[in-house]
Amino acid sequence: MPELTKEIADAHPTPTAEPILEVRGLVKHFPLTQGILFKKQIGAVKAVDGVDFDLGAGETLGIVGESGCGKSTVAKLLVNLEQPTAGEIRYKGEDITKLSGRALKAVRRNIQMVFQDPYTSLNPRMTVGDIIGEPYEIHPEVAPKGSRRQKVQELLDVVGLNPEYINRYPHQFSGGQRQRIGIARGLALRPEIIVADEPVSALDVSVQAQVVNLLEKLQDEFGLSYVFIAHDLSIVRHISDRVGVMYLGRLVEIGSDREIYDHPTHPYTQALLSAVPVPDPDARLHRERIILSGDVPSPANPPSGCRFRTRCWKAQERCELEVPELAVPAVFRLEGGPTAHPSACHFAEEKQVVPESDES
């Protein structure tokens, strides 16, 4: 194990502020079709509709949002499981959405994914050794045949599983252990970026913390950059350096964890944060909660202008006509400080919804 650690550590110099991944104008529309043999497009689900963000080397970017907001589609686009309809994903300056063949395969090595469901993400017909070793079969240049078994055992050790269990099948493991196997597979090619899509939400509460700790340990050890997608706001806050909030295919607010949690300026972020139940029964008396009315509109037919306006208590005519840009709102631009972070709202204003932390 120490050998592997060293190799990987050598491959990644100390984290810098240089973005390793730049996402610009990312769009993914899924066509809605009718007919069996001759398909006719009758519309499109706008799952992701113009998303921009940067990921710094060694950084963790959390992406939060409710179901249908497009966060999982963003994950799939980042690892090239889906082709974007428009936009760019630049890895170290190179747009990877245009790549194919050998060049694509090379880039794929550097961006790996950890899946949500540890029960469906491991092939039940393969042994743990075959699952974790498969990356080497697809990319034989990474590890010569003779060394693979040893590498797999090192990886098992790194994720805290007994290396002797290399010949077991996934159903012999519990959910938390399977997720460790999935993480080991993601690490095999020594990627620089790991996209984790709800990696702990299928696990028991007492096991979630173990996996979060493992992810943090691995980040320090291997200098990984994470895109951490989840709906659990407290876990995202714990692990992320920066957080982006998505609603109906767009980012509505992005900033450092303190900026988002302690100084949210977008009404949706405020509602989302205030709706999270706080594990403190005393808080229910004096806590102010913003209860949104209605449901999230269909991404096939999103509202004009600001997409949140149908559920927003601040909505005015302007919100219907004008799409708010994701930028630092003019009111905060001069004063600086933690409120001055990008927020896509015409009427952005700070509102404290989470009990303030000591550090702010």
């Binding site: 409710e66 179901s67 519990s174 938390g176 252990q177 028991d204 509460v205 007492s206 096991v207 979630q208 913390a209 173990q210 979060v212 700790n213 943090e216 340990k217 709906h231 706001l233 407290s234 876990i235 806050r237 714990h238 964890d257 509602a271 989302l272 709706a275 999270v276 139940p277 706080v278 594990p279 403190d280 029964p281 005393d282 808080a283 229910r284 909660r289 209860i291 949104l292 009315s293 449901d295 999230v296 932390s357 000591d358 550090e359």
Partner: protein, 325 residues
């Protein structure tokens, strides 16, 4: 007391052996009170609820001991047709997955109305009027128009409201909600929990809320029963437990929630895994994962010790645990 569960025991006989899902559970709920049953998968919290409702699959399930007193009568001694009258009318259940709990080929109006036709002998027309009234009550907009729509035409939050409407239809004395908001988004979850709490107050019902979410519990519960490996490990009023847990498992759960001042540090994690129900460790079931375990924990099952008047803990070292908290 509205409902008293006394020393309930449930087993599942499977091909691979006997799984002891519930091993002596005792709790009670009064009218107008909310009891939260907290536990991980396999803790037996849902199985207990199914036994109370009488919807446990038997076989492979088997109730091997204990009693369930509902308004003073033991449900387990009732005949099946007597129990059927209690179910739905006197006690109702809300499930986690509203989509699979609703029949996809019947309109929601038909499904709501059926309750009144079967239990109250109402005419079809009256039942429909009642259905619309119920949908209004759970705040489904345009109830009159939507009453003849089918479940798939409603969103997740709306479907859960329909489930609540069905459960409330006959104004039961007791509602059991099994992870009612787990499948919903946070903003919708808040709407549904608020609605449930409000209706409970209005109708003075007893509510058993089964969940694994410590946040939801803190928001709505009056008292908590924490379950682990088919046993109650701690019972207490909600404020006491969050202030100072008297069982190491409860303490571990509370500490594993990420806190603001822990940012950048390792999260507290309970080591190991929940036990296999076919081979529950001897002594205290939590002992292999417990930081406080001593020899006595490996040999003797800890009884539910009285911590204070309305509080119990099944730990040999509850005093020490409480003192450290």
């Amino acid at each position: 007391m509205l409902l008293e569960v006394r020393d309930l025991q449930v087993e599942f006989r499977t091909r691979d052996g006997v799984a002891k899902a519930v091993n002596g559970v005792t709790y009670e709920v009064d009218a107008g009170e909310t009891l939260a049953v907290l536990g991980e998968s396999g803790s037996g919290k849902s199985v207990t609820a199914q036994a109370i409702m009488g919807i446990l699959d038997m076989p492979p399930g088997k109730i091997t001991g204990g009693e369930i007193l509902f308004q003073g009568k033991d449900l387990l001694k009732m005949k099946e047709d007597e129990r059927r009258k209690v179910r739905g009318a006197e006690m109702a259940m809300i499930f986690q997955d509203a989509l699979s709990s609703l029949n996809p080929v019947l309109s929601v109006g038909d499904q709501l109305g059926e309750m009144f036709i079967v239990h109250r002998g109402m005419s079809k027309k009256d039942a429909r009027a009642k259905s619309i009234e119920l949908m209004d009550r759970v705040r489904i907009p345009a109830a009159k128009e939507r009453v003849s729509q089918y479940p798939h035409q409603f969103s997740g939050g709306m479907r859960q409201r329909i489930m609540i409407a069905m459960a409330l239809a006959l104004e039961p004395a007791l509602i059991i909600a099994d992870e009612p908001t787990t499948a919903l988004d946070v903003t919708v979850q808040a709407q549904v929990m608020d609605l449930l709490a409000e209706l409970q107050r209005e109708l003075n019902m007893g509510l058993i809320l089964i969940t694994h979410d410590l946040g939801v519990v803190a928001d709505v519960a009056d008292k908590i029963a924490v379950m682990y490996a088919g046993r109650i490990v701690e019972r207490a009023p909600v404020h006491d437990i969050y202030k100072a847990p008297a069982h190491p498992y409860t303490k571990g759960l509370l500490e594993s929630i990420p806190r603001l001042d822990q940012k950048g540090q390792e999260l507290y994690a309970i080591k190991g895994l929940p036990p296999n129900l076919m081979a529950i460790p001897p002594g205290c079931a939590f002992n292999p994962r417990c930081p406080r375990a001593q020899d006595v924990c490996r040999t003797d099952v800890p009884p539910l010790a009285q911590v204070s008047e309305d509080r119990q803990s099944a730990c040999h070292f509850w005093k020490e645990t409480l003192r450290d908290a």
